[in-house]
């Protein structure tokens, strides 16, 4: 039995690793992670640099007071006197993207006009934000620093249940967990469906009968599933390494403070226990879904039917991802706690809760126990269906026939 299992595992693993879909999947995943982690930063920097150089003009006193405030976010290329409307050539002459003219307004405050080669509302909003404290200071004659202090209401967050010491740590952990959940979702979906396609290929090519004439269907099924898990682990390592290598862009994002921060993959945000929990839940989740995909795949005879019959299995994967995303925000909500104990949803939601909350040990233990039990239960059902399904040709079985097989 073990020998048969290893023979099938070795052959299937080799086929999987050498297959074009696997190699393309790994490469696309790495590129996807690169895009996910670096693209926002690159875009932000690209747009930031283009719009960051300005020329200041207008009321001399206002310009003098505004300049240090604007220099936090912009490069002041030049200061011009007067309040004339510039031409595009004037902007080009200074290598600037915008020309900002500051003036006092009729209510005692200030206003500005921005002349830009590209009407970037975000640049104007940013300038307006930088000059808010100056506007109030001019209107009220209060010292600008006093106004600046008043605009910032001091606050402290005292989290009663969070395991993070600061909101920055929590945000960082959220980013990393978000990425890991996406990796979990994609790996389970891709490897489960590849396994299903492999089973259907064996049936359509009629090699299935030769296989089950050589060895029992059970080591055949489990060998194939183990190969799918091993291939999935390799993909996971590649993708997480990509996340580690490319992550961390947000910490020095500069102009792009909204860019996700994945630097936690390098340490801090993901503890060893969380990493182990992730890998174990990935293996358990993939085992559950891979067995379902293989069992259902054994019941069909045409590759054209793959899409329609895989839908009922794909739905809980999608549901698990969506619920786990909300569990990242509210890991201790009743909804998240319940879902972390529901078979098939648990691998996603339990990981989200472990990553974002200090959940009681008994809940972790119960969650893992349910996942192990689900693997055992699904393995039994899948074995029954696969044993019969591999020799089933012609019209696909009805639901009542499937039920009869499962009952025996």
């Amino acid at each position: 039995m073990i020998g048969d299992f290893l023979t099938v595992f070795t052959a299937e693993f080799g086929r999987r690793i050498r297959s074009r879909p696997f190699q393309i999947g790994v490469l696309l995943g790495v590129l996807g992670i690169l895009a996910f982690t670096k693209l926002p930063l690159l875009l932000a920097n690209a747009f930031g640099e283009a719009g960051s150089s300005i020329v200041l003009a207008g009321d001399r006193e206002l310009v003098e007071r505004a300049k240090p405030l604007l220099e936090r976010d912009f490069t002041v290329a030049a200061v011009e006197s007067g309040a004339r409307a510039p031409a595009l050539a004037d902007l080009k002459a200074h290598g600037a993207a915008s020309w900002v003219t500051l003036q006092s307004d009729s209510h005692g405050g200030m206003r500005f006009d921005m002349y830009s080669s590209d009407s970037q509302s975000s640049t104007a909003k940013s300038i307006a934000g930088d000059l808010t404290s100056l506007n109030i200071a001019v209107a009220t004659s209060l010292p600008r620093q006093r106004v600046h202090d008043l605009l910032r209401v001091p606050y402290t967050v005292h989290a009663l249940s969070s395991r993070f010491s600061s909101s920055r740590d929590a945000t960082k952990a959220w980013s990393v967990s978000y990425l890991l959940l996406l990796v979990l979702y994609m790996l389970i979906l891709i490897n489960g469906q590849l396994l299903m396609a492999s089973v259907v290929e064996e049936k359509t090519s009629r090699i299935a009968e030769l296989l089950v004439a050589s060895i029992s269907p059970i080591p055949l099924l489990y060998g194939k599933i183990a190969a799918a898990v091993a291939a999935g682990l390799i993909q996971m390592v590649c993708w997480i390494l990509a996340g580690v290598l490319f992550g961390g862009g947000g910490s020095h994002a500069g102009a792009a403070s909204d860019v996700p921060d994945f630097s936690g993959l390098l340490g801090g945000s993901v503890s060893a226990l969380e990493a182990i929990a992730f890998v174990v839940l990935f293996v358990l989740g993939l085992l559950q879904y891979a067995m379902l995909f293989a069992a259902v795949g054994s019941l069909i005879n045409r590759t054209e039917d793959l899409g329609s019959v895989s839908l009922p299995i794909v739905l809980p994967i999608i549901a698990g991802l969506l619920i786990s995303m909300s569990a990242l925000q509210m890991p201790d909500s009743n909804w998240a706690v319940t879902a972390s104990f529901v078979p098939l949803l648990s691998p996603f939601v339990l990981f989200a809760r472990i990553a974002m909350s200090q959940i009681p040990v008994w809940q972790v233990a119960l969650g893992f126990a349910i996942n192990f039990a689900t693997v055992y239960f699904v393995a039994m059902l899948a074995g029954k269906l696969y044993r019969v399904g591999m020799l089933l040709y012609g019209r696909p079985p009805s639901l009542s026939q499937v039920w009869n097989v499962l009952r025996t």
């Binding site: 020998g3 048969d4 023979t7 099938v8 052959a11 086929r15 297959s19 064996e202 090519s205 009629r206 090699i207 299935a208 009968e209 030769l210 296989l211 089950v212 004439a213 050589s214 060895i215 029992s216 020799l391 026939q401």
Partner: protein, 299 residues
């Protein structure tokens, strides 16, 4: 010895095999014959342990056949299948490992069968690139690589050209010479007649006839008597035999169907006394005749 004893199998309400029994001695070749849907493949699958009989037993050398025993058997199913993208060499080696070969045995036997089947130039090519005949050779290698004790072949000659069919016949002869027991089905009766020691005719899932060709012929109720010349004197004598029936005449010879129990020496003596007889031939029924009669009887 393979002993199939009163097996039956049903799929839902459909009866696939009912009360089939036969025995296959070690090292012999056994022909399982029947029309499409007769239950041959189901019987073969039960013999291999792929399906479990609903009743009856199947034993190999006194041991009941189960899933663990299938490693010692080989099987060439009617519907051929290979991993299209896997190279010929790897495919054969894979099935060798599945049947328990290990280490150098796998490589050695793989190379041996590749040479033997003339597949050397295709050994490192994906199976999907091979012609149908060459794919069939690969499948034969996959089924026989491990020198099985029992090799079951479902329609092994289907799709083979005469040269490759002859090649396969030689391989089967060689396997039998080395002690492999063969069970095969085919619709080419002339091939089975030459190849097999014993037969079982299955119709509608039931065993209609079984035994050696001599035993099957012995149970045949009539013989065809071929006589020349077909003179009126000769015909008059033959017409007087109880149960005799004129079949026809060709090239000056006449053919009569007579009861199998007819004493042929006496008939010959009488004919010689009657006319100058130049041809006297009692034609034994062929396997095809026996098969067709078995099907007619079942209809």
């Amino acid at each position: 010895m393979l002993a199939v004893d009163h097996i039956h199998k049903e799929f839902g309400s459909a009866r696939a095999v009912s009360d089939v029994s036969f025995e296959v001695p070690d090292g012999s070749t056994f022909g399982l014959i029947g029309p499409n849907g007769a239950g041959k493949t189901t019987t073969m699958r039960m013999t291999l342990g792929i399906l479990t009989p609903d009743g009856g037993t199947i034993a190999w050398n006194g041991q009941r056949v189960d899933g663990r025993m299938r490693r010692r058997f080989g099987y060439l199913p009617e519907e051929r299948g290979l991993y299209g993208k896997m190279k010929v060499r790897h495919q054969i080696a894979f099935f060798g490992r599945l049947h328990g070969l290990a280490g150098r045995d796998v490589a050695g036997q793989t190379n041996l069968w590749i040479e033997r089947l003339g597949l050397a130039q295709y050994a490192d090519r994906p199976c999907a690139e091979l012609s149908k005949g060459n794919q069939q050779k690969v499948q034969v290698a996959c089924a026989a690589l491990h020198r099985p004790e029992l090799l079951i072949l479902d329609e092994p000659f289907a799709g083979l050209d005469p040269v490759n069919a002859q090649n396969l016949l030689e391989i089967l002869d060689d396997l039998r010479a080395h002690g492999t027991t063969l069970v095969l089905s085919s619709h080419q009766m002339w091939q089975l007649e030459d190849l097999c020691d014993r037969f079982c005719i299955i119709v509608g899932g039931e065993n209609r006839r079984s035994g050696t060709l001599a035993e099957l012929r012995a149970a045949w109720p009539t013989r065809v008597l071929r006589v020349a010349p077909g003179s009126s004197a000769v015909r008059g004598l033959l017409d007087r035999i109880d149960g005799a029936r004129f079949v026809g005449s060709t090239d000056g010879r006449i053919e009569y169907e007579i009861p199998a129990a007819t004493a042929l020496p006496q008939v010959l003596r009488s004919l010689v006394d009657t006319d100058a007889v130049t041809t006297f031939e009692a034609v034994e029924p062929s396997l095809q005749d026996i098969y067709l009669r078995a099907i007619d009887a079942a209809a």
